[in-house]
């Protein structure tokens, strides 16, 4: 025999019990623990992101060519390697420039450079590096047309990075307590991204006679963020030529 359904208007037994017990009983909730963060060494950027990029999560730095995503990636790499930790740069586009990295203050001996032959190999390599643990920062530098050029079969349908990629990477990053930072022209990660920065380039400044490239402005906006990183906030940064900085 079916039990009669309780009337929506009548208080349930649980609610009556809660009322009777009074303030001794409260709804429980897990305390929200602060997410450890990896500072970039650029104070304005760290302020924008709430202290740095979150560890154990996927973050994205997206922007067109010349917007400065490589510079911010190298700043993160420099801060991490100078602290004595290891970092990995997964590079399917073979675009990593050791001279620029050294100029940005990266300790090259602590960088594992993986020149993956294609996007699929790059994603697999990123996953393996995360699984190995001990690399608190893994940078995945997606090529300009990650969705088109690298994986012909799926890319033509706009599915170069299939639906299973991001949850898998996010789980691996969480297990390794590592910050997985994806540098790409456009955002890919969707809901699996904890923090997303969108970059836009400003005008460069050439000074002196003969002219020398001195710096370029960079507009960074927080498109997605949690726990201290407020979406919608933005900051203006400057990318300065290494010679000028010295």
């Amino acid at each position: 025999m079916a039990s009669p359904l309780p009337s929506p208007s009548a208080p349930s037994a649980l609610e009556r019990a809660l009322t009777d017990l009074g303030p001794q009983v409260r709804r429980g909730a897990l305390p929200s623990l602060p997410v450890p963060r990896l500072a970039s060494g650029v104070p304005a950027l760290d302020a924008l992101t709430g202290g740095g990029l979150p560890r154990g999560r996927v973050s994205e730095i997206a922007g067109p060519d010349s917007a400065g995503r490589t510079a911010l990636g190298l700043a993160l790499l420099a801060a991490t390697t100078r602290s004595g930790a290891l970092a990995a740069w997964i590079d399917p586009d073979d675009a990593f420039d050791p001279a620029s990295a050294a100029a940005a203050g990266v300790e090259l001996a602590r960088v594992l450079w993986v020149r993956a032959p294609g996007l699929r190999a790059a994603l697999r390599a990123a996953e393996r590096v995360l699984e190995a643990q001990g690399f608190p920062l893994v940078l995945l530098d997606l090529p300009p047309r990650a969705g088109e050029a690298c994986e012909p079969a799926r890319a033509r349908r706009g599915r170069a990075l299939d639906g299973a990629t991001w949850p898998r990477l996010a789980r691996a990053a969480a297990a390794a307590d590592a910050a997985l930072v994806v540098l790409a022209p456009a955002r890919h990660g969707g809901v699996w991204t904890e923090l997303a920065l969108e970059l836009a380039p400003g005008a460069p400044r050439f000074t002196g006679t003969p002219a020398l490239l001195e710096e370029r402005a960079l507009y960074a906006a927080l498109a997605r963020g949690r726990a201290g990183a407020v979406p919608g906030r933005s900051a203006t940064l400057r990318l300065r030529a290494a010679d000028a900085a010295a």
């Binding site: 001279a99 620029s100 602590r110 594992l112 190999a121 050439f206 400057r238």
Partner: protein, 520 residues
């Protein structure tokens, strides 16, 4: 001195079963020769029960046992099985010597002598040591017996007697320890053929009616030498259990090799991969016995027609992970496939010490050394040789030069961290990062319109439009003495009206414009 003898009685059969474990339990015959002249040289217990015996023609053996599986004898397999036996011995004793090949009834045996002095302290007893040897040998797929005695000769005789069994029935015990002083008495009732005398000597001993070792030991050396020649004195010393004082050689650096002669030539990489996987698994087992990891691999493929394909496959970090090593070999073969079907494969490596690190208590912990080694090997298998490692600055004037070296991070933070870091000078500017270059490899060709040598318009897949700002040129030249390698570039930093800030260069040798990087 105490000496152990590790003996595999039927090496051709054991080597075949080691490479093809799926044949265990089936009636198996190892054959020599081809076609109707093929002859059985070794048989498994299953085949022996059907009446098949060594030296029988294969056709006759098949008539006796229709389900007989015949495999041609493989010198490569037997050689690597002998080496595996040596590895087992070296894993438990520093002084090891292979026993010279025997003749007659013992031609199929393989044996190793090893120093067993003082092993009781480690293994509680000499029997414990012998048991450890048999366990390790069986783990490598080789059935072996072990005898421990006071001399090489007696230990070999004891091992032979153990392997022979009683009345053709194999013994269940695989270990025999002869106490010092009791050896001559133990040898006395054994048959004289255990001594493996050559045919003439065996015939002479038989003519004199000497059937037991004890009967030989009782005779006068002078009388024997007069009648049977000086060679009999060696047998006499053995029969009397007199110590042969030859020292065992000191340890030497060894090379590990696994090889196989294929029954049929293989022309597909996939099939080759299966064979390589088995070879690598056996190689990894042997390396693990010695506590070593696999370094660079030397792969030799014997091709149909007699040619040989020799190649060295680099391993980023020594590893024992057979899966990662298989991936490396597969990649090497896919990159440059063999030019003809493969008939023989040999895989060799020098054992390398597995990477060990003392981690720093005050530094962030990196991956465990073994994990890192396996990771590097896997990544190299995934990406290719020379594509995984630590980046470096090359001592080369070419603007696009770089190095990539084995990833071996230092323990302490680098000394250059503060001094060389431009961030040190940026501490007063909290919103500044360093402008970086995103390299384009290879450089992208560009169409450029220039006025007085300075670009004013360009078109390329990465940047296009009017040049709004330009800096340069900076000339880099080098290798002028070599027509093939010389270079001369004029570099410009250009900002085009599509918003791209790129590094443009005029290749003065090839007379063309290229973009070799984007400031990003």
């Amino acid at each position: 001195m105490r000496v152990a003898c590790l003996l595999v009685p039927d090496l051709p059969l054991a080597a075949a079963l080691r490479a093809h474990p799926e044949l265990a339990g089936r009636p198996l015959a190892i054959t020599s020769g081809a076609g109707p002249r093929a002859q059985v040289v070794a048989v498994s217990a299953g085949a022996a029960r059907c009446g098949v015996h060594a030296f029988a023609p294969l056709l006759h053996a098949r008539a006796l046992c229709p389900s007989l599986v015949a495999r041609p004898s493989s010198p490569a397999l037997e050689r690597t099985a002998r080496e595996a036996l040596l590895d087992v011995a070296r894993s438990l004793s520093p002084r090891v010597a292979p026993v010279a090949p025997a003749s007659g009834a013992f031609v199929a045996e393989a044996a190793v002598h090893l120093d067993a002095s003082g092993v009781s302290a480690l293994f509680r007893s000499e029997a414990g040591f012998a048991n450890a040897l048999t366990t390790r040998t069986r783990a490598l797929g080789l059935p072996a017996v072990v005898a421990v005695a006071s001399s090489r000769g007696v230990s070999l005789l004891a091992a032979r007697e153990l392997a022979r069994g009683e009345g053709g029935v194999p013994r269940t015990d695989l270990v025999r320890v002869l106490e010092p002083g009791s050896e001559a008495a133990w040898l006395a009732p054994l048959p004289i053929d255990l001594l493996d005398a050559d045919d003439a000597l065996a015939e002479g001993l038989g003519r004199f009616g000497i059937r037991r070792i004890g009967e030989l030991a009782a005779l006068s050396p002078r009388a024997l030498a007069t009648r049977l020649g000086p060679d009999v004195l060696r047998l006499l010393a053995l029969a009397r259990a007199e110590s042969d004082a030859l020292p065992l050689p000191p340890p030497t650096e060894s090379c590990f090799e696994e090889a196989i002669d294929l029954e049929y030539a293989v022309d597909r990489l996939e099939a080759l991969g299966f064979v390589l996987r088995g070879l690598l698994a056996r190689l990894a087992e042997r390396l693990a016995l010695r506590g070593l990891a696999c370094g660079d691999l030397d792969l030799v493929l014997g091709l149909a027609g007699g040619a040989r394909d020799v190649r060295r496959v680099g391993v980023a970090a020594p590893t024992q992970d057979a899966r990662a090593l298989t991936g490396l070999l597969r990649l090497a073969l896919e990159t440059r496939p063999p030019t003809a079907p493969v008939e023989q494969i040999s895989l060799a490596t020098r054992g390398a010490d597995a990477r060990r690190d003392q981690l720093d208590f005050f530094q962030p912990a990196g991956p465990a050394p073994a994990t890192l080694a396996r990771l590097l090997a896997e990544l190299e298998a995934l990406c290719g040789t020379g594509r995984v490692g630590a980046p470096g600055l090359a001592d080369d004037p070419r603007p696009d030069a770089f190095t990539i070296s084995a990833f071996a991070p230092p323990h302490a933070p680098g000394a250059q961290k503060a001094a060389a870091s431009p961030h040190a000078s940026l501490e007063t500017a909290p919103d500044v990062a360093i402008l970086s270059l995103r390299a384009l490899r290879p450089a992208v060709a560009a169409s450029v319109r220039a006025v007085e040598g300075r670009p004013c318009w360009l078109h390329s897949p990465v940047a296009k439009g009017h040049v709004l700002e330009v800096a340069g040129p900076w000339r880099t030249t080098g290798r002028w003495w070599s027509r093939a390698e010389r270079f001369a570039f004029d570099h410009f930093d250009v900002f085009t009206d599509d918003g791209t800030l790129s590094r443009l260069r005029l290749d003065r040798v090839r007379r063309r414009w290229e973009i070799d990087g984007i400031y990003d």
